[in-house]
Symmetry: C2
Subunit: 459 residues, 2 copies
């Protein structure tokens, strides 16, 4: 019993040998005296063609099988005389593990991605999702491998949290109460009676907890699910998504950009190497030029430019922007697009106006900007966002008050600045945004196994 | 600028060289004319001794420093003449990045673990938690590496779910509503108005979703957080913990046990290799004989025995058990302990009475037991639990009804048996239970960065 992956890897060994495979019939062409099965076991992107003819003792049995059926099949690997493949397997014996009815929703024709979302539990069996979810798995391992090889500690920051300094409206509340019978006190829900003795949330970031570990292990990263309550139906928003959040002690903004650039190139390279078939498929059927785009990124030097310089360029641009570029404001999607095309590659934009960024970012000496950096990538927009953190206790507290942040639930986070604090930086990368970039798939719903979006939590 | 880890790895290169390190003062012994700093940067378990004397231009500055301070230090690496270390660093220059006050809670003395839990954000700086959380990180990577090298797909199963077939009492409900103003209809909470249009939960398992991917990729695993509302204050229960849940198509119970055994030995071996200092520390200060226990496991053959045979052995045992062993019942902790000691190693117990196990497990031909398997490990009890899954659609539905499971929200899961289903098996391993075994630390609160237990969600 071997996997199809192994068969492809050691084809010389298995050629002209009798082997047994287990997997699924992706397609079957039945002729009067012979037939072909398109067979896959999901262990690699490649399928294998199984051949049978009338001489075969299982001929009648095979001819009754349906697309989708699970089979155990024994046969001989032979060089193929047909077009389209270099080898095939001549069936000698076949056991049906589980047949599939005629009304199986996944027939071998072109289905829309919208339809496939409605059968989310079957879509991993299609070529597109075999490619996308294999890339997802391999990219995840690339990330772990990069950080582990570079001496980072992987931290499982908590998902359940009572720190609501980022604004609790954006977080899901959790409760062990029966929703019909929430105890009240003075007309308010009495969360002191709930399991944790107070209102708890599921988190939108692991950064605050991550920083506490960076102050002990120097270099750490998180990689886990995060949540937003955003009632937003766009191609790039989901209510549940995975984030990578590295945090590095003794690191300024320039060092942070070095890490971001090196990490991204490492991941892209790793995926290009380990998912050659999957990338080739996406290049052909999803985004023409994908492989070239990725190869180019690995070999490029990322541009580094300030927000102020970006606005200068946008103002000088011979373009009719919907939103007027402004030194005090965030940039719009159209601006991101212009800038990455202007530099023809990835662009780090630094030193953003402080009032549009988070309270814990380090204020620059100009008093107007913060040491923040966004990485803009051609075709995918903002891929990472990071900053140097405010390392001065009093400045941090002052900034929190200016921005109406309640620091009561995060006094421990602020205290890091009192107990052997140091300059440090970190960034966040949305894993799904990376996958959109790596696969060319446009909609976040198609890079998540079971996407959670407003009114959509059916599986 | 190098990490202490690199210094230890390439000591020959750096000996007698001037280098710069960045990290924290773990201890400082100030004498009249000289002094010693115990320095660590968290990149490895080993510290380094820094030496300074009155000739040093920074002498007065250093003598004012406190334990916990963050420093950048330049000096020469020299063979040590003192006892306790083979080399040390003679300080030439020092910059204080962040001092630490006299009342720093983490003074270099023996603190109780209970006290350290109260300063959870500082405890990663102690030797014990440097060891525990490094082992946690390395073990996590060992798990990913094992599965990726063996052709498994890593699946991010969703955390938010509406499938409540396991009993929604055990799951946290989530909502985007203000808890004070939950809309009602006919006196009940009207969850149809919430973000997902129905009541959603955070999940207790990724298995159901994992199976859908095993039917497409053959071999998959999950590794992510899971949640229980259990109001239980024991050493082994937490409300948030991480689980690994592999699922393998075309796999019976014997094959599953092979995988469990191989995987566990791989992880233990990996940790023994990569965390030698951390394991040595735990061996000395946490569990005497830890290293021997782990080494023995790697070289042992796990026993395989049925639940019925276990009860036979327990009934014959010359022991006064608190709970009487029973062929129809689960076994108690005292029984687990007896059995692992009886076989002097890990024991797979198979074929459990069906009524104490989950509804989706395959019923054996005797009609009384299910093809389930628990792995019992000396000192840690049940480490993994798995089963062959019921692959027959009608049998699965019948069993669900017998056990009062509402299959309405998991029709897709049941349908897997109709659409090219096949015999398949899977197991779950609680990551924290593995860590308790790997470190010798007894309380689950001490192997989780920020443990969530009843009334405890303070950081």
């Amino acid at each position: 019993m071997i996997d199809v992956k192994e068969l492809y890897q050691k084809l010389d060994t298995y050629m002209n040998q009798t082997i047994t495979l287990q997997g699924w019939i992706r397609n079957i062409r039945k002729q009067k005296d012979f037939g072909f099965i398109d067979f896959s076991d999901g262990t690699c992107f490649n399928h294998i063609q199984l051949v049978y003819d009338k001489e075969n003792k299982c001929f009648d049995q095979i001819n009754k099988l349906h697309i989708g059926a699970a089979i155990t099949v024994t046969g001989t690997v032979k060089a193929s005389i047909g077009a389209g493949q270099s080898f095939e397997m001549i069936i000698e014996d076949l056991v049906v593990e589980g047949d599939c009815p005629e009304d199986y929703p996944l027939q071998p024709k072109r289905h829309t991605r919208e339809f496939l979302r409605e059968i989310a539990y079957l879509r991993p069996r299609t070529n597109l999702f075999q490619a996308v979810f294999r890339i997802r798995s391999v990219a995840a391992h690339a990330i772990h491998t990069y950080f582990q090889e570079h001496g980072y500690l992987y931290v499982h920051t908590p998902l359940i949290t009572t720190a609501d300094c980022e604004g609790s409206d954006q977080m899901f509340k959790i409760t062990s109460f029966n929703m019909d019978r929430i105890p009240t006190i003075d007309g308010h829900a009495d969360m002191s009676k709930d399991l944790f003795g107070k209102q708890a949330f599921i988190t939108g970031t692991g950064q605050l907890h991550g920083e506490t570990f960076a102050m002990a292990f120097k270099k750490i990263y998180t990689f886990g699910p995060t949540f937003r309550t955003e009632n937003s139906n766009t191609k790039t928003h989901a209510n549940e998504f995975w984030m990578i959040e590295p945090e590095i002690a003794f690191c300024h903004l320039d060092g942070l950009m070095d890490i971001e650039e090196e990490m991204l190139k490492y991941i892209v390279n790793y995926v290009l190497e380990k998912c050659a078939e999957e990338i080739a498929f996406c290049d052909q059927y999803v985004e023409n030029g994908l492989k070239e785009k990725l190869t180019k990124l690995v070999n490029s030097k990322f541009t580094r430019i300030t927000h102020h310089e970006v606005i200068d360029i946008l103002k000088k641009a011979d373009m009719d922007f919907e939103f007027t570029p402004d030194y005090e404001e965030d940039i719009a999607k159209e601006h991101e697009k212009y800038i990455t095309e202007y530099f023809n590659g990835p662009v780090f934009i630094t030193n953003w106006p402080k009032d549009i960024k988070a309270w814990y970012m380090k204020t620059n000496e100009d008093g107007k900007t913060v040491a923040a950096v966004d990485l803009e990538v051609p075709g995918a927009g903002e891929l990472m966002g990071g900053s140097e953190r405010e390392a001065d206790y009093q400045k941090l507290i002052n900034r929190a008050h200016e921005m109406n942040v309640d620091t009561d639930t995060v006094d421990w986070f602020c205290n890091l600045r009192r107990y052997g604090g140091c300059y440090h930086s970190g960034f966040g990368m949305g894993f799904e945004r990376l996958l959109i970039y790596l696969t060319g798939v446009e909609n976040i719903r198609d890079v998540i196994p079971y996407p959670r979006t407003p009114k959509n939590c059916d599986f």
